[in-house]
Amino acid sequence: MTISDLRNAAADSGATGSGAPEATAAVVPGKTKPKRTWRSYSVYAGLALIFAYCLAPFYWMLVSSLRRTADIFDNTLLPAPFSLENYAKVFDGSTMFGQALLNSLIVAGTTTTFALVLGVFAAYAISRLNFRFKSLILGVIIATSMFPGISVVVPLLRLFTDIGWINTYQAMIVPNLSFAIPLAVWNLTTFMKALPFDLEEAAMIDGCTKWQAFRRVLLPLAAPGVFTTAILTFIHSWNEFIIALSMINDPKIQTATVAISKFTGATEFQAPFGEQMAAGVIVTVPLVIMVLIFQRRIVEGLTAGASK
């Protein structure tokens, strides 16, 4: 339903005028009110514009990745001879891209797990317990999320060199926690604060300890929030670049975002654009799928911190 609406909208505003009458018929069946039609036209035109703005560059990446190397500079809207050549090249072994994807999965997954475990406890304390300096602590944790990554990378690069952590997973996971934990704590705190206290209170009146009330009542209730936080933290860790770039120089350990940034040919003029686009699509597609499935939750999580 919604998709067909948008298609109509795209047809309305687009260069092809032929689709317009049908589209109007679909939107306002039967009678036509001039003013209202004009208005819905402008709204749909605006929507189509937003739609194109968001998706056109991504679409161009997708189309370019499906061209043959010979016609990579074509400007047709669809790949003329459809080809998976670039995808085959990405995985042909010389670039270790598959390994890079696995590394990204390991690093982002571990980071997310650690951040969530610590975050759930911290968020419970902040949202449910009474103690001194509470908002100060929350403020400090949030402030750390605004910390510029490079200020962590420069000193840790030195430390990790000294203790031999360069080219290890933990050299990425530990610094990743510097942004993952504040993100997790903040999101979970906002979420838990919004949950009613009554159920836990009832459980405690019935003889549960605080810990039992937390584990048996709050945690199941908070599961959607924990899940949302997990998605957001995972996406942030998956997209992380500067830490992975600095701590790793061994292609066997590097993550996907760093790997594709190093997909360059011998000179700038021989850059394998097709392969780069294919790799970009592969790195992005899991995220886009996640976004499509969990869009409501992601938007909730993103906006929870800013608007209450």
Binding site: W60, G119, A122, K134, S151, A194, S246, L287, L302
Partner: protein, 356 residues
């Protein structure tokens, strides 16, 4: 800290103290201990990955490696204490010129991108707020630029901005977008705004959706047009949300690294940001000056954040909400927790609006 205001708040409203002052009333020592236990792992890890590096950066910035080879031809590892010399060098000589250039670039990118993002994000939010059909589909598509990793978006835009790429083709121009110069700055700004305007749009939309329709209805009855409604209702009511969004985006733009690094490349004067400069220096093993750059960037970010929170009153931590919650419970008012600050604030403002 806000919780300490709970008992006085209850006293002010004149409600008798709740018989079972279990929750927001008196603090039991057990709760404090439990909170300490639950929070200490988080605080410990944050101290390890943030406080320690920061102190270490300050420390390293006071030293300078005597780079080069020693008499026997080995790489020398000697570091000498130079005091604030690394900081003094930020303003003079070759390294000073580079620092000031990076500082100017960072500021320029932050101001231009955040301004454009805010304007565009507001427009996106206004358009989405009016749309009832296809909203969820729109929301999904608006999340796509946000979800694309910055490094990938750098690659994507480098492809678009190739000398014989689609951008020049559509414009009918022959601009070298990804070389040095102002064109590369424009390329970075376009790519950054594309990726982040939807984020502001989403935040602002969330702020707009809690504004009750009756406010607009009342305004319409009073004869306020669309522009008047925008200026007198929408903008003032989304201002708190917008402030927080702009703050986040500014702090994010100040540490910009991935995008110019991938889109244009390292060591390009016209797009080199402070993060890129510090990274480059540490890559050359000049940890002293790299740390000095990193510390300066940290201070810059801190100043911007403090100005936003103190002067403009961006409510980042939700402290206002905490206060409100504790007042509510003191009144034994068991409203669902979902109706918190936003709603109450809006209804207060609505009342004010209505009486105006």
């Amino acid at each position: 800290m806000t919780t300490t205001t709970a008992p006085p708040a209850g006293a002010q409203t004149g409600t008798p103290h709740a018989p079972g002052p279990r929750r927001r009333g008196k603090r039991s020592p057990g709760e404090g201990r439990m909170a300490a236990m639950l929070l200490s792992p988080t605080i410990l890890v944050l101290a390890l990955v943030i406080v320690y590096p920061l102190l270490s950066a300050v420390h390293q910035s006071l030293f300078r490696a005597e780079s080069g080879l020693d008499a026997d031809g080995f790489v020398s590892d000697v570091e000498s204490f130079v005091g604030l010399a690394n900081y003094a060098d930020l303003f003079v000589g070759e390294s000073g010129r580079r620092f000031l250039n990076a500082f100017a670039n960072t500021t320029f990118f932050t101001v231009t991108t955040v301004f454009l993002e805010t304007v565009l994000g507001l427009c996106l939010a206004l358009a989405m707020n009016r749309a009832f059909r296809g909203r969820s589909f729109l929301r999904a598509s608006i999340l796509v630029p946000w979800a694309v990793p910055t490094a990938v978006s750098g690659l994507l835009w480098r492809w678009i901005f190739q000398s014989d790429g689609i951008a020049n083709n559509l414009l009918g121009s022959e601009i070298l977008w990804t070389a040095e110069g102002n064109a590369s700055r424009v390329a970075v700004i376009i790519a950054e705004v594309w990726k982040t305007a939807p984020f502001i749009g989403l935040l602002v939309l969330a702020g707009m959706q809690v504004i009750p329709g009756e406010v607009y209805e009342a305004a319409r009855i009073d004869g306020a047009g669309w522009w008047r409604q925008l200026g007198s209702i929408t903008l003032p009511l989304v201002k708190p949300t917008l402030l927080v969004a702009v703050l986040f985006r500014m702090l994010d733009a100040l540490r910009m690294f991935d995008l110019p690094f991938v889109l244009i490349g390292p060591g390009k004067e016209s797009v080199e940001t402070l993060s890129m400069l510090a990274w480059d220096e540490s890559n050359q093993l000049r940890y002293g000056s790299a740390s000095a750059f990193a510390v300066m960037l940290f201070l810059y970010v801190a100043v911007v954040a403090i100005v936003f929170v103190k002067v403009l009153g961006a409510d980042v931590t939700g402290a206002k909400e905490l206060k409100l919650l504790s007042k509510k419970t003191a009144r034994k008012n068991r409203l669902a927790a979902s109706q918190t600050q936003a709603n109450t604030e809006v209804s207060d403002q609505k009342k004010a609006e209505a009486t105006r």
